[in-house]
Subunit: 149 residues, 8 copies
Amino acid sequence: MHLTVYLSGEIHTDWRDEIASQAADLDVTFTAPVTDHAASDDCGVAILGAESDKFWHDRKGANLNAIRTRKAIEDADVVVVRFGEKYRQWNAAFDAGYAAALGKSLIILHQSDHAHALKEVDAAADAVCETPAQVVATLRYVLTGRLPG
Amino acid sequence: MHLTVYLSGEIHTDWRDEIASQAADLDVTFTAPVTDHAASDDCGVAILGAESDKFWHDRKGANLNAIRTRKAIEDADVVVVRFGEKYRQWNAAFDAGYAAALGKSLIILHQSDHAHALKEVDAAADAVCETPAQVVATLRYVLTGRLPG
Amino acid sequence: MHLTVYLSGEIHTDWRDEIASQAADLDVTFTAPVTDHAASDDCGVAILGAESDKFWHDRKGANLNAIRTRKAIEDADVVVVRFGEKYRQWNAAFDAGYAAALGKSLIILHQSDHAHALKEVDAAADAVCETPAQVVATLRYVLTGRLPG
Amino acid sequence: MHLTVYLSGEIHTDWRDEIASQAADLDVTFTAPVTDHAASDDCGVAILGAESDKFWHDRKGANLNAIRTRKAIEDADVVVVRFGEKYRQWNAAFDAGYAAALGKSLIILHQSDHAHALKEVDAAADAVCETPAQVVATLRYVLTGRLPG
Amino acid sequence: MHLTVYLSGEIHTDWRDEIASQAADLDVTFTAPVTDHAASDDCGVAILGAESDKFWHDRKGANLNAIRTRKAIEDADVVVVRFGEKYRQWNAAFDAGYAAALGKSLIILHQSDHAHALKEVDAAADAVCETPAQVVATLRYVLTGRLPG
Amino acid sequence: MHLTVYLSGEIHTDWRDEIASQAADLDVTFTAPVTDHAASDDCGVAILGAESDKFWHDRKGANLNAIRTRKAIEDADVVVVRFGEKYRQWNAAFDAGYAAALGKSLIILHQSDHAHALKEVDAAADAVCETPAQVVATLRYVLTGRLPG
Amino acid sequence: MHLTVYLSGEIHTDWRDEIASQAADLDVTFTAPVTDHAASDDCGVAILGAESDKFWHDRKGANLNAIRTRKAIEDADVVVVRFGEKYRQWNAAFDAGYAAALGKSLIILHQSDHAHALKEVDAAADAVCETPAQVVATLRYVLTGRLPG
Amino acid sequence: MHLTVYLSGEIHTDWRDEIASQAADLDVTFTAPVTDHAASDDCGVAILGAESDKFWHDRKGANLNAIRTRKAIEDADVVVVRFGEKYRQWNAAFDAGYAAALGKSLIILHQSDHAHALKEVDAAADAVCETPAQVVATLRYVLTGRLPG
């Protein structure tokens, strides 16, 4: 069994690298959004031309990023969504809803003090993790049946 | 033409009533989540039995609320998602993503200073409104072709 | 909001009547399989001609019952599956799997000592109830937001 | 033609190995659930943290196992479900219903004295086998057109 | 429960009337193709203009009839396909295949000496009947649970 | 049989009225886009606020009109697309492609000298008409089996 | 571009070999049903045990063959259905209907004197051919843009 | 991440080559319609036999081309549709609508003076480009996160 896993959400820490390096022995292909915050914000106007109105500046960029996100979620067997400590992260929750509607397996990764605010998102998930190591252990178990320790 | 419109998101102001009363002349059926915050939080344990662990207390409730939300979104022609000024409102963004993946028409309602944080959500929408009156004017135009004023 | 609810599973107690009478005030349409055990077993040969081999006797009947079950599950918003104390009830679990794959909201009704054996089925459900009254309270909450007591 | 075949159900005998060894000459990829009973029961708490309540202990595990099962059924061309002599095996019947709703080809494997209890499940199947050898002969015929003997 | 039943196939005997009159007490809506053979053959050119080539004469008509057939099959809960004694009736078998692919419940009606030639079609059906009365008895059982006699 | 028919395309002649009046005896519900050209062009800025850039002025309006079009096409059994003598009418061809991909029955209405330019669109259609009267005759035949004259 | 092409229908002439040899230069994978008539008729009882009733003898075999047919049609980009000079060939028409409902590209191959009887089937097709060479020329054009001669 | 990109629309300039050569470093597979105008117009009669009526001459060809187009759009992650300066290009708009209904990511390529006429098509797109270089920059960003310059 091989898994394609989309790592959605928070882009300011190295959690994707942690997961990828701990999962190096597993038959997993990881995908991710563009994690360069500035590029992600400005891609639309950089490629398609400047906008004087910030709203359309943002729209153009969000539309381009959506091409990648849509492809990645549709190709994924499992979507991992990480909610970090900062920012509103509505796009992370949007991705989780999008993935849930497509029937994807969903793993939510967040610190415990976000549990109440994320209860509807967690309820759609197959696993709620607090650490990248738990995400990797989940994937390892799903693929190999092996438990940690 | 008749529209079924699900009013998702913020539950602490009377925006749903505003929309419903202004749209009283339109051929629209509005649906909504349970908007009693306490009932919504505690429904699971009230019906299915107490939980000592807050996480499962929340899970039981979120699961029950999901029955209503899933039905309402699937039956909707248009999903309106309001982001208010307070709280993280991840369930609102989750609903937006869920509705987008099902191909529903999407109207996002928020104040302008949330525009950057909601850019991915707005990019999936057919209309971005700042007031309930704009939502109603949108529905009126869609149904009747009449413009405001 | 109106709900169509299919009551699947055990046919030797009056749990369907209990639910229907307690839910008489709700905007719900209940559907059910044929609950006359003898008719359900013999319908195939009674209508389409006798079979000497019990296997095909059963097959003919199961095929006819499947017309009703398929229609009822596909039309349902919520599928309630009751596991009783007796019999193997594999058709109940089959219906639960079928409904889950179609994305139906699922309520499982069983006594607590079946919980471990039903853990995979329960994990696909939005609510796990022990009594018909809990099923009705769940439907009442979903439809009206009102809690018991 | 190549077939992906998910071997669902009973985990206490070596029927999967029998099938795989007899089918070694065929262009088939077999998948299976985690067949280590203890790991399957405890994976949730082992990875995501202990639960004092057995119900949630079971839920966490069932949710993790569902990631693997969902992936395997969705990827399968054929789902073989074996009902053994012991246990209630509701998860096997659940898998059969899930696979049937997705339109998968279904082969049910059970001893003849379970035939009446499994009549609804058998009626959804393309083949009802009593031995692993019959399952392999079915796959061999489907792939190559060759009959036994 | 209400059923919409499409009566496909043979158009030279009054089997549709037989079924409708015997089922007058049932909550069923019957639909049918245009059963006026001449109109069905010539509708295309009568409405859209003459064709000198018989192939395109037929094509124009078949395309118009397909509008009705597609609508009727898609709206049906049950598709009954009757194979008569004469003609090749490939359109009947085509309808059966179309309905099967959409997951419709299928009832095949034919005399017993066609059984071998129709074995693949029958194998996709929930019931194989020899008389209109058996079709009605099947619908009556599905809707009411009552058996004949 | 009842048909819902979406009348897409050209908005500068009264062809929709012609069809509706000639089809007054038929069990058809007609839907249409907003046919007030000015309203259709300006709805976005009239409701959601002015734009200095014509591109976004148009975008806002097109998005609102898409809510109505999407709803109308998805609800339709038959989509009629009329190509008039003037303008590029790319939205008409877009609607035709959208409807075709959803498996809707398609009737294309255009003068004969557009036939070569529309050959790909016509090839996806069940009927190609030159006059509104032919569209009505088609719908009458589909619903009643009656031919003109 | 690569095409997977299922060659359905008549099994008593070597038309499949003709197509395969003429298409040897093309990037096509051909699939086919089991074309050994005796094996196809008897596979069910040969593998799963004898039946005294010819109806169930046929059913068991048809069910096994359906596993292969379903897989082949679902995997196909193009389904070619050949109607020969003999036999009723209802399974060929059934396959055509099944493929059409799944939105597959359809090529029908038959002699011209069957054209009227096959008009509904032909109307669902992208190409109607009279010779295997025309089927190959169609596939060659689709893949390479090259025309014959 | 790998992308399959269908390049639809205008066939009289070398824009496809421009895109392919500029994107030579990217993990993209490009597909296209048959771009030989004469072959595309005459393929039907060249392969399947002459027609005296131009309408059916065109129909036969359009049907063959549809096999390729349908396959290419269904396999595509991204559909790029170019509207050139000449011709009505209704097939380009048809492809855009078809792709939009299937949920494909859509990039529209046209000169700015077509913007108003294409506003409904543009509104369904993720990016509106004026040059092939912008299309390539969009694909490069989606695949690698790198911006131009």
